[in-house]
């Protein structure tokens, strides 16, 4: 499962990164990798079954108190 996930992410990298390097868009590359790193981290955590907090429920609790 995790291999499939990493395969998907590497497809996205292969699609986007060469174009950015070719055009020397370093700033774009940095922001892209930053966002992708967060997305990858979260999806790997979800795949291996780590319990992540319920975001909107937490926001709701903040208001309902």
């Amino acid at each position: 499962m995790i291999l499939l996930l990493l395969f998907g992410f590497s497809l996205i990298f292969l699609r986007e990164v060469p174009r950015l390097i070719q055009r020397r868009y370093w700033r774009e590359l940095l922001v892209f990798c930053l966002f992708m790193a967060v997305a990858m981290l979260l999806s790997v955590l979800l795949t291996i079954g780590v319990e992540l907090p319920q975001v909107s429920t937490a926001i709701g609790d903040l208001f309902l108190k």
């Binding site: 922001v31 966002f35 992708m36 429920t57 709701g60």
Partner: protein, 365 residues
């Protein structure tokens, strides 16, 4: 000059606004707290929604053709502008993830019961990223294609249900407390009309920068018309029973039975939700990636399509533990939670711009 080079016409923008506002509301009846009076609550909510839209249009006309993030920059300064912009984009990001959550709950409850929600969410994310990466023009053209179909299907289900209407379902009229009624009206204003705040990001791309008010007005009025018919249909066929269903539109359409031949037409509701919800999500995704690219000073926004789309999908899986919490959030929290973003930020920006007499003639801002 912003990152978005494409221009859309007033008609396209109006159609996009209608699709956006119908997005998830074809399933969840706005003002549903009011029960059988939700149609009156909807009309009152529309007036409040038009007040919101007036703020957005005034702001857009004051800074014609200027991207929203640049407006924040010139009003709040460089750092303050970025902070406000990130809050605003965070709201749109969360809204997008809520749309995806609605998708997964709807399909998981009624149609694809065994399918994991990640599959439903990420198949929508994939096509939405594809559309959003091609820019606003493509999203607007999608709505030009999809909206006529959605309206046709909607009117078809309405006509087929007319014979099942019971006028006594509407009685007694307004037998709820004033507080509850106005709360319902306010929730209808916040969801969906106030969500058109996202169009602040798209208004600069309008080919005729003087017309945002006309587009917002037309969009809100037409979508209110559709939602009004939807509320009348649900109350007329289901009566007070509509409160016990998660998706009253779906249940009401289930009653359609023309001579035992034309039955199970409720899938049309699902198709409508799929088309309009797709447009709503795609527009929100487009807005978030465009805004984020402007905040970070990037030269193109397309690059953020995949990562932001995936992050929205992940957040949508983390939003709620179950569908009950989703409805509780929508009914009790959302009417207050959304206000700072839908009214606070635009109104505050407008007032400060007026006090500081921005934009200055001939100046760099």
């Amino acid at each position: 000059m912003g990152l978005e080079q494409g221009r859309i016409s007033a008609t396209q923008l109006t159609m996009l606004i209608i699709s956006f506002l119908l997005g998830t509301t074809l399933l969840f009846s706005p003002g549903g707290v009011a029960g059988r009076d939700s149609w009156i609550a909807l009309l009152v909510g529309m007036v409040e929604g038009l007040l919101f839209a007036f703020i957005y249009a005034t702001l857009a006309v004051r800074f014609p053709g200027r991207p929203l993030i640049q407006v924040f920059h010139s009003v709040y300064g460089s750092v303050g502008g970025k902070v406000i912009a990130l809050f605003f984009l965070g709201y749109l990001f969360h809204l997008g993830s809520l749309v995806l959550t609605n998708f997964s709950f709807f399909f998981n409850t009624l149609i694809l019961i065994e399918t994991p929600s990640a599959v439903i969410v990420f198949s929508i994310v994939a096509i939405s990223v594809y559309a959003a990466r091609h820019g606003l023009e493509v999203v607007a053209r999608c709505s030009q294609v999809l909206l006529p179909f959605a309206l046709f299907f909607f009117i078809l289900t309405f006509i087929l249900l007319i014979k099942d209407f019971r006028l006594e379902h509407f009685q007694p009229v307004l037998a709820i407390s004033a507080k509850r009624f106005f709360f319902a009206a306010h929730s209808a204003a916040v969801f969906p009309f106030g969500e058109s705040v996202g169009f602040l990001l798209a208004l600069p791309a309008l080919s005729d920068p003087e017309k945002p008010w006309k587009c917002l007005l037309l969009g809100i009025i037409i979508s209110t018309g559709v939602l009004l018919l939807s509320a009348l249909r649900n109350t007329g066929t289901l009566g007070i029973l509509q409160d016990i269903f998660f998706f009253p539109s779906f249940q009401a359409t289930r009653q359609i039975n023309v001579g035992q031949i034309l039955t199970r037409v409720e899938i049309l509701v699902a198709v409508n939700f799929l088309a309009m919800g797709f447009l709503k999500y795609t527009f929100l995704l487009y807005g978030v990636i465009l805004g984020t690219a402007e905040v970070f000073g990037l030269r193109e926004y397309r690059i953020l399509g995949y990562p932001v789309g995936i992050l929205m999908g992940i957040l949508s899986l983390l939003n709620f533990a179950g569908i009950h919490e989703n409805f509780e959030f929508l009914e009790k929290v959302y009417p207050f939670y959304a206000l700072p973003f839908q009214v606070g930020i635009p109104l505050f920006t407008l007032i400060i711009a007026m006090i500081r007499k921005l934009p200055r003639e001939g100046g760099e801002t």
